[in-house]
Symmetry: D2
Subunit: 408 residues, 4 copies
């Protein structure tokens, strides 16, 4: 059970780390100031310049599409990539610079595994090249999507086409002007089918007639422009029948495959944020004084720092184990660990960031330090891809199953 | 130890509750939409209309300045008012409607107790009438204000005047165009004086030359316009010598008196938010279904609801006890309870709101429900008036003091 | 909502406190050493002497049967008695000294309310006089008694008698040689009856033929002699038909009435233990040194002490509110609060005791300080009368019921 | 970072697991019943027969002294042995059966590394053979031993001898009649020496004149006979000067080396207990019914089981990482991880056991299931070798040191 980065990749990890620290992070203030200035949902020329410049640098150094662990990728195992994802988590801009950002990686994986040659040419190629972006449309306002069998968007076959009607929301990235394609979870089957064979995934060009982006959902008041989490209405949207992935009723099959790696990436990026927050907390505690001493010497601060370190350390190891399980080639066997990290990593990271805020005092919640933005982002991870409760349930069921089988 | 509302006040509490529920809460969406529309730091004619209309109604019904437990007030004890504060906590707009909003209540109290006749005429009277607003300037960017003896703003006597230089931030309410006066904590004494006799409070008109409002501090990305939490620079600001309150070196004496009731108000409003969030959580859990059942029947939701109820119940009783202690007339004896509630009430309310968010799923963090705004506001209470750690320290010191004295 | 002790009772409370501190607590070591010496399930002459001496003193001072809030009692409200229970909780021997010990108080209450004149003469009178003791037999080894409708002990009418067969365990006090009578929860009705009308309570003399005390259940290795928690087998035990209380099928009705006050007593005694532990912790932290300072000055100890104080304070207020609700005369309305304290008070007390142990180091778990005995006793309270989960469920159901009714 | 067991050791691990499950665990009830029967501090003939029979079997199968990772040992790395320790943790008797029990392993390690040829012949050889046992005397009643520089036992050189005076307690294993030798931490240097050079370790035969075993310390009421945790007085105990290990003033140097592996063993055994408790909890939740359903389906039980699984999984990985760090050959570099697991592993195991108790109801705290004994043992681990607070402090100092150095 080797959870370390392979030694031959150490140099590349350091390249990525250096680029995040020295080039990407320093560009963020300017990039985000641009958002505030003009049309929030367009990329300004300066934004394009910053982003494409960094992307070109990453591509040139071979730090591109590192997430793809299968043929055609950069040759990393999931465990290896996990270490890269942690580093990328330290800057909101970094994942895109390395073409490793969600939800594109998950979507590319779907196209890579299940897409027709045509889809791969039309969507996968430009996604892999970082020329377009994509969104994944799952959650709906009218149903409790934590139970994904509730998904209700209508998708009816008419001749050579499917016609889609209904609403999706929290479509992350769909606000981006470069977002060209959606993968959409829809209901194609009736109540007569088994629960997990009623749904399908279908590819929908973002500029299809009948698509209306209603609004940007806000996350604790933030619209996360220019990417956004959009609320979208489909009114009689038509796509060719071949746009359906794998075939009718196989939506859950694809979803299971799609979600595992993406969750590991999210969780390792969360670990990266937690490390960054702990660093900030430690430095602050050494440099700021109250009651005649550096904060580090006061009250429970030693204990708080120690607890943060212990929780991060454990959460990282758990994520790496989940990645290692994934690398063993049996996604079903790895599933309980994926569910575990989905609960653990965001929780730990939120705790560390929250403690860091307390160490900073009021400045911690302000625009002067990145802690509040980290917190807001991390908080969404307790809901995205299912609330904690759903994942805990799966962990418990896996645990109990072992004992139930024993009894037989 | 009667922690209940006096029976003769029950009717008025119900009046306030009805007004909050039926008139104020329904006006909020429109009021806040106005902020987003024009100059964030001016009140639009429609905002003035909404607010003044509600205020006129409150005043007409005798629901005005209920917070003032001393002569000249509405005849409520602190315990009584606590019950009103809880109800007002359910709507961000409500406290101002009843002229019970922070930081004005604290400032009015200072003017009421320590202000000269002139100050009372110039500032207290219009504040009591709801005609102007005020700010309290304490925290500074350059020092750890959790140890208030660090406060460093220079205030030097020159003839009949004091000259102020330095920066303050997190001046809540100072962004409001109606904010006419600041009470400012300044350093007037040197290192030769005892630590708690080096500081003073001084009254500064908001339009004094040399005052520059640098920016609005953001709270998890929110500027809280039109009230704001402002970062303000003082450059050679001159005020008459008689503007000093009580006299040089008595800043901490005033601060201690000023903070107790205000903390109780904050905490009871937090309890009100927690109750509102628990209600929302319960209703949601009964109306939303997943896995074939209402959420209320799933997993740990019963336990979560029960824990929220138990924590709110306890926190409220603790706040009421703190209020009762305050009513006994000895603010020093009440201090340990004030410190306790300052830790407990925001923590409990944050927890309840966070659990409510999970029950709502992604909608919980969006603009469609008030939970994210509640959370953001409550989170500041763990820092405002000192971070939790400072209050815990005071609670422990009070506890240990009893045993140290025993030993003598 | 007056949660205080009535002023006229203050003197008596101080008498009890003085007696606990100066007479009862100092006798404990000797009393318990006697248990270890001889037959654990007999009272030695010296034990009798200690106990009866103290009881005589209590009776002489009028500090006797203070728990009885109804006619024939000492004239205290439940709220008043709660304050006495807290003080008695500081010594394991104290409740019996004042004839206020469980399960006798609950049993006396049952006889007082529901017993025939004959039962009152035969059992209530000597119990009130402290001459005999009693047990309450509810839990059974074969069923999950957390769901009390599972209770299965057979009780069949044969002519003028009932015949009982089955096993009970955790019969607290049944090991005591003075234990003369059991109140037993039995199943008298079939599946055709509604779930809560199938059970009855019946009075069984402890020396009835067919009763066999199998063994003493151990609590974390302790047998709690001479009182014990006994495992008892009933084989064809016959009692007169009139021994049934209130009538067949009314067991739950009696249980509900019986349990409320007893739970408040248990919880307030737990608060008393928590206070004692916090005192010990504070004194230890002031007197013991490490790393050149008293422990009180080290690391998180201030925070730990503060958290303990805040939790005790809140839990006590919650218990007092539950008692106050009980005093309003509607046991059903008070029930949600009784469930709340049953979860909260033992949990808080366990936490405080556990933290005290850490402050004492290894001595804390040893026979040299009472913390380990306190912990063991308190831990049982999370199970006795139903595990926490059952009480949380009731709290949640009460909470949700309010919102369900609203909807109608 | 390979945290797995080497594949070639898998078979041996299964042998150990089978022997624990099929031979050792089934012998425990009888072994412990023997303790209760006669002289608690002697081994009965039947106890000797059980124990030596099992030991002979283990030795015959080559499952002996597996803990020794250095020359002369069984060829396991620390990581490998960690997996064995987990399995041995499932039975209190198991570690001794495989000659892997504390404190003997730590003492053997000291003799192995630092002992003279004479010491190795006299003490190490019979210890390695399982013929005698040993104790490690560190903690003292009069000082806070959490700060080990407080250790005060006098050890004065007189000619060719050292003379020891003072008291030690919590000498685990010193009650065993086979305990032949003590390693004792003593104070040999004065205040003029640096703090960590004032202490030494010295070898003292258990039958030396002047040694008096005062009593057995109890752990939550248990004396843990026949091993015991003894309180011992030294009155003018004389040993030859060459009994000092490494030389005067090098006590802390030895202690640091001694404690690392032992802590990993303790922690992995704790993980083993946690796994056993989780298994019991799951089985119970599937087989016991309340409210018409198996407990597994009720309330928060899914969540509780999931949280236990997630915490165990993380704690195990952390322990394995600490072991891996130790295997890298730099004990100082590994130290922060050793401190981390010392806090984490007992805490997690205690939590799991406590939750299992709740699932069992009252039976969970009784002699019928091993949970209460597990809990009691695990609770001592939060104190043995230093309370949690001391370890957290070390973790924080290590964390802060990285940032302090950066600043230089």
């Amino acid at each position: 059970m080797d959870l370390g980065l392979r030694p031959e990749l150490q140099g590349r990890l350091e390249q990525v780390a250096a680029m995040v620290r020295d080039e990407i992070a320093p560009s963020e203030a300017e990039f985000h100031a641009e958002v505030a200035r003009g049309d929030r949902w367009a990329l300004s020329p300066r934004q394009v310049e910053i982003l494409e410049g960094l992307k070109a640098r990453a591509r040139a150094e071979g730090l591109w599409n590192l997430w793809l662990t299968e043929d055609g990728g950069a040759g990393l195992r999931t465990v290896d990539y996990a270490w890269f994802a942690e580093i990328m988590g330290r800057s909101p801009l970094a994942p895109e610079v390395f073409n490793c950002n969600a939800p594109d990686t998950g979507n590319m994986e779907v196209f890579h595994r299940y897409g027709s040659a045509d889809m791969q040419a039309r969507w996968l190629k430009p996604l892999m090249a970082g020329e377009i972006r994509s969104a994944y449309l799952m959650t709906e306002p009218e149903v409790a999507s934590s139970d994904a069998t509730n998904i209700a968007m209508s998708c009816v076959r008419e001749g050579d086409e499917y016609v889609l009607d209904g609403e999706k929301w929290w479509a992350t990235g769909a606000g981006d002007p470069r977002c060209a394609v959606y993968i959409v979870m829809v209901r194609t089957g009736g109540d007569d089918l088994p629960k997990h064979q009623r749904h399908s995934m279908i590819v929908v060009p973002a500029d299809s007639p009948g698509i209306e982006v209603l609004r940007a959902m806000q996350v604790y008041g933030h619209d996360d422009a220019p990417h956004g989490h959009m609320h979208i209405r489909f009114s009689g949207v038509r796509v060719p029948a071949e746009n359906i992935l794998l075939g009718e009723g196989r939506g859950f099959e694809i979803a299971q495959g799609r979600l595992g790696p993406g969750r590991i990436h999210h969780c390792m990026r969360a670990i990266g944020m937690a490390e960054a927050a702990l660093e900030m907390m430690c430095r602050r505690s050494l440099s700021r004084e109250a009651f005649g001493k550096p904060l580090a010497q006061l009250g429970a601060n030693h204990d708080i720092i120690a607890e943060c370190r212990m929780e991060i350390e454990q959460a990282r190891l758990l994520c790496l184990k989940a990645a290692w399980m994934m690398d063993q080639g049996d996604a079903r066997a790895a599933a309980p660990w994926i569910h575990q990290i989905k609960v653990v990593a965001p929780r730990v990271a939120l705790k560390v960031v929250d403690e860091a805020v307390q160490m900073f005092g009021a400045q911690g919640i302000s625009q002067d330090v990145p802690l509040s933005a980290m917190w807001t982002h991390l908080r969404t991870l307790r809901l995205a891809d299912g609330p904690d409760a759903v994942h805990r349930r799966q962990v418990a069921r896996a645990e109990l199953r072992r004992h139930t089988q024993e009894k037989v």
